[in-house]
Amino acid sequence: MAFREIDLNMGPQHPSTHGVLRLKLAVDNEVVLRVEPVLGYLHRGMEKLWESLTYTQIVPLTDRLDYLASLSNNLAYCLAVEKLAGIEVPRRARYIRVVLAELQRLASHLAWTGFMANDIGAMSVLLYGFEAREDILDIFEEYCGARLTVHGIRIGGAVHDLDGPLVSRIRAVLERIPKRLADIRSLLDENRIWKERTVGIGRITAGEAIDYGLTGPPLRACGVAWDMRKDIPYSSYDDFDFDVPLGTNGDVYDRYLVRLEEICQSIRIVGQALDGLPEGEFKAKVPRVLKIAPGEAFHTIEAPKGVLGFTVRSNGTDKPERVKMKSPSFINLQSLEHLCQGNLFSDVIGILGSLDIVLGEIDK
């Protein structure tokens, strides 16, 4: 067939764009030539709003950035504020934070597996993934009453202590997850349709990935062992023994494997943190009205989606001068065009899904 370039529009209301993302595509028959993401359909003016709120009032709003991993956002923001204000977090609180953050990673990756498989057409995996995720949300609900926008990590520590019954409940849930994971893997790992739509699709080399600023599982799927928990350890992560799962091909299938393997590692970390839970306070003494002398701090963590960071600048009052978020999805999505070029149009959905983006933190 003769060369014929067609422009296609996808979104902002589309079931597979993971929110309100719009893609402008140019295709030659079935092959993708260009992809231009159009952002801003969920731009809520968060950063402007933060300038009018106190440091403590901002924490619940960070939940609404990456709403599939709200505790990770809490953690990154609180660490930045603590670094700026020089607040020392008690050891027990740091362990509780690790437990919460890793459970959040489990929940986020399980939800991702469901969404991703659903995008490719395997609806039943969505049900399995969400069922496993509900178990973890139950823990959050018991811990502080909320399921999705948890707001469990506060400046100086956590909102509650981890008591005995909750610890045994977490252990019980962790024991069930490998079985559920095995169910999911038996549905997908060797599934011919799944493999045909993921293996070798959306490839990127390690060098290009770093160049595009990719972080998180999409980067580790190329074999780059960049994990902030190891590189710049925070919150006592250096106390725990865990591996950084790596892929080799940098394609959609490897991103899937890396995430599933990370689930296993998270289970390991949570187990160790619960075993070694030190005695002490679960929260540092933080003044009710937190005023911070002029200064600036930047702190990053390894969120489920990649490297998440907050820049906080203070001006001596109880409100920040500016808070800037470095969101992993925002930078990861930039590489979409590169990943899609030369692939089939139908694979755009899978590639987009494999990046695990959340519009809340892209548009802010």
Partner: protein, 165 residues
């Protein structure tokens, strides 16, 4: 913790190399806890970025942060402070490059050096109205094209000027 990060003398050496290359354009420099922080004049920012990338091995672009100094004048006295954050992997060393930009002035684009700066610069343009010269496609990224004003400037009201719909 990676060895590079703890190695203070390496960071000092990098600072000296930078001062040797750019001379007076380096206004200040410091090295501490695995982080290099330098202040530069804005005309050397692109060569400095490529120096960091090519010679010092900072292969990843992390973030671009803009501060509006309207209410809290900085030492330089300019309206905006722009911060480039770079990361070196492996080694886990950070670099923080700072330049000052006045209202209405433009900055040279970093996209030719770091591809990842593309959207970050569009965001800075959208939110603060700083034009980046040489950017391949400088448009608003979040707000509609007909939006008036730049919301993260300190003189922009939170609820907007037009009251929305």
């Amino acid at each position: 913790m990676p060895a590079d990060r703890a190695d203070q003398s390496k960071l000092r050496k990098a600072l000296d190399a930078l001062a040797g290359r750019f001379g007076d354009a380096v206004l200040a420099g410091a090295a501490d806890k695995g982080e290099l922080a330098v202040r530069l004049t804005k005309d050397v920012i692109v060569p400095a970025l490529s120096f960091f990338k090519e010679e010092l091995g900072f292969n990843a672009f992390e973030d671009l942060v803009v501060f509006d100094n309207l209410n809290s004048p900085d030492e330089g006295g300019a309206r905006f402070t722009v911060v480039y954050r770079l990361f070196k992997f492996p080694g886990a060393v950070r670099a923080r490059l700072t330049v000052e930009v006045g209202d209405g002035e433009s900055l040279p684009s970093a996209v030719p050096v770091y591809r990842a700066a593309d959207w970050a610069e569009r965001e800075a343009f959208d939110m603060f109205g700083i034009p980046f010269e040489g950017h391949p496609d400088l448009r608003r990224i979040y707000l509609p094209d007909d939006f008036e004003g730049h919301p993260l400037r300190k003189d922009f009201p939170l609820a907007g000027r037009t009251g929305g719909l």
